[in-house]
Symmetry: C2
Subunit: 384 residues, 2 copies
Amino acid sequence: MLAFSVTAVDGDARRGRLDTPHGVVDTPAFMPVGTQGTVKALRQSDLEMVGASIVLANTYHLFLRPGDESIARHGGLHRYIGWPRPILTDSGGFQVFSLAGRCVVTDEGASFQSHIDGTRHLFTPERAMDIQARLGSDIAMVLDECPAFPATRDAAAAAMRRSAAWAARCRKRRLALDAGEVEGVTPSNPGQAQFGIVQGGVFDDLRHESVEATVSVGFDGYAIGGLSVGEPPEDMRRVAAETARRLPVERPRYLMGVGTPDDLVEGVRAGIDLFDCVLPTRNARNGQLFTSQGRLNIRNARFADDPRPLDPACRCEVCRRHSRAYLRHLFLAGEMTAATLNTLHNLTFYLDTMRRIREAIAFRSFEAFRQGFARSAAVLPPDA
Amino acid sequence: MLAFSVTAVDGDARRGRLDTPHGVVDTPAFMPVGTQGTVKALRQSDLEMVGASIVLANTYHLFLRPGDESIARHGGLHRYIGWPRPILTDSGGFQVFSLAGRCVVTDEGASFQSHIDGTRHLFTPERAMDIQARLGSDIAMVLDECPAFPATRDAAAAAMRRSAAWAARCRKRRLALDAGEVEGVTPSNPGQAQFGIVQGGVFDDLRHESVEATVSVGFDGYAIGGLSVGEPPEDMRRVAAETARRLPVERPRYLMGVGTPDDLVEGVRAGIDLFDCVLPTRNARNGQLFTSQGRLNIRNARFADDPRPLDPACRCEVCRRHSRAYLRHLFLAGEMTAATLNTLHNLTFYLDTMRRIREAIAFRSFEAFRQGFARSAAVLPPDA
């Protein structure tokens, strides 16, 4: 069982410590997304520099290219990508439903066409666990069905119940893998943990039912899935908070695919321990930057001669070294370096926010932090 | 006058020390190309890490975007791009002739259309100096006319003679700028040096005439231009060597736009002190990597499961951390990080080669180094 201890609580917010085979993750933590085995525009030494303690990698992408068997031959994903710290892999389900072609779901699993070369594949709960065992991430996620938003209540219920059945099969497979009973699969990371995923859309009673079913299977941790897929922000926050409070207090809680800096603060307030989102990295590549005074778009003409750093309160390499004018120039000139610098800054802002959150919880000052955070980010209008 | 001292000689090869307003450059030196104010796919801290002591920036590009006046308002190019070490700027001539649209050359100067927005501009010798004075590079280059290869003897002679006349005008403008006599132009870097450029194509007597004309004007250093534009490699090396030996021994010699690792070694053998070339950076972005055992193309299928570093003899971050298999994966997956890692490695190889060259000259063992270098690079066939 993955070791997790809560070291401080402040309201529903908690500070904790997750002990994985590749090191400790202080929680609440944000996981940068490294889809294909790299966080886009960065290298692993950059992630260490900005203080990432864990990254997320996408099973769907790595299965298709370079392939889980190739990665296993290199000793697993950590060695393959040259990243010695913890890694969480998703199950691939979300990409199968959102990115792959011609997806067909049955109780057996989800069949789909590769978005790269059109080849046809089948992900079953068992296969999703086998692939992640070969990848050797520190935390593997169960395969779940993610209905598109808006889903009818019936569709959300059906997907949730199928996900619950798949969760039980995933757990069974995990135990078989641990026992060395799955022929042809040698786990790259024997200490791999496994998280279940709660589904149920925006329907509180379905979420409640999903919590009961998932927790009754028994996992190392629990994720809240199927949010941040288009529902109104207030629905997302309500469902996340209502679900989090029903999850076991002694196990880590992971809010998948969320979100804005404010979402992170509100998630922590509701008792969430782990987050991932492409927002800081994708927005960086589009010139959208997060600062202690709100968002800014570096393409804006008013930055053409602006000698100030992106964020005077930020200590990252970019803010110590470069002006808004230079960053705007690099972006407009189409230089890849713009993506790198912007990503470094945005991830620094996210990870620094998480560090401040952890400190605030330790000092029992989380509510004061939360109110101050909301105020300071309102200085600039969004997307100024 | 730019301070330059030759600290060791070995045959025609020389080790030297160039003292610029932004620090010392140990020569022979290779200048990575930072066209738009950044070396593509890298940031300035990367250049410091790989040991670049000077970079080249392109006047044509920076004039068009963000504009020399904008850069001057920020205190010059060093401050604008956040690079405290020496910078050399070209005159913009080469890009006007090769990249801009509808170029018309008269004795007055070269008029052209921006490749970005089609606006029409005129570069005169005077304007090229004014722009570089605003940029505030440590070394400015005179405006020259670069005929396309192959050029007839008459065309090469005409371009060479026009370049000589322009060189005299450039020198006059430089002295006027130094004296504060050019209205509307405040030099960003009062200690800026100025190099003349020898032209003459592949015609030895024209090169000879160009040397005489350029040296008689009197510059801080002398460049050999108009090579590596399509002529056979043996012509390039012959002209470079024949020209270098006619240039003043007490002034730095710069072979423009050259070249392969072997070209650098042969250039140093002929008495060249400075080089620049897009080869290590552009090839990196195309997956072509330089190693101590020759070139390799990282896309090659034989690297798919290769756990070895690019170059076992290399100490760069990429070779210490990553396998050929991972680098191939990143390249095929279209990750920008591939360009960054490949560029880091190639530049490390180039700058490490220059460091070894300098050491060999100091130890009077350059010829042994040269022969060993040619042998080791022949282990792998080119582009294996």
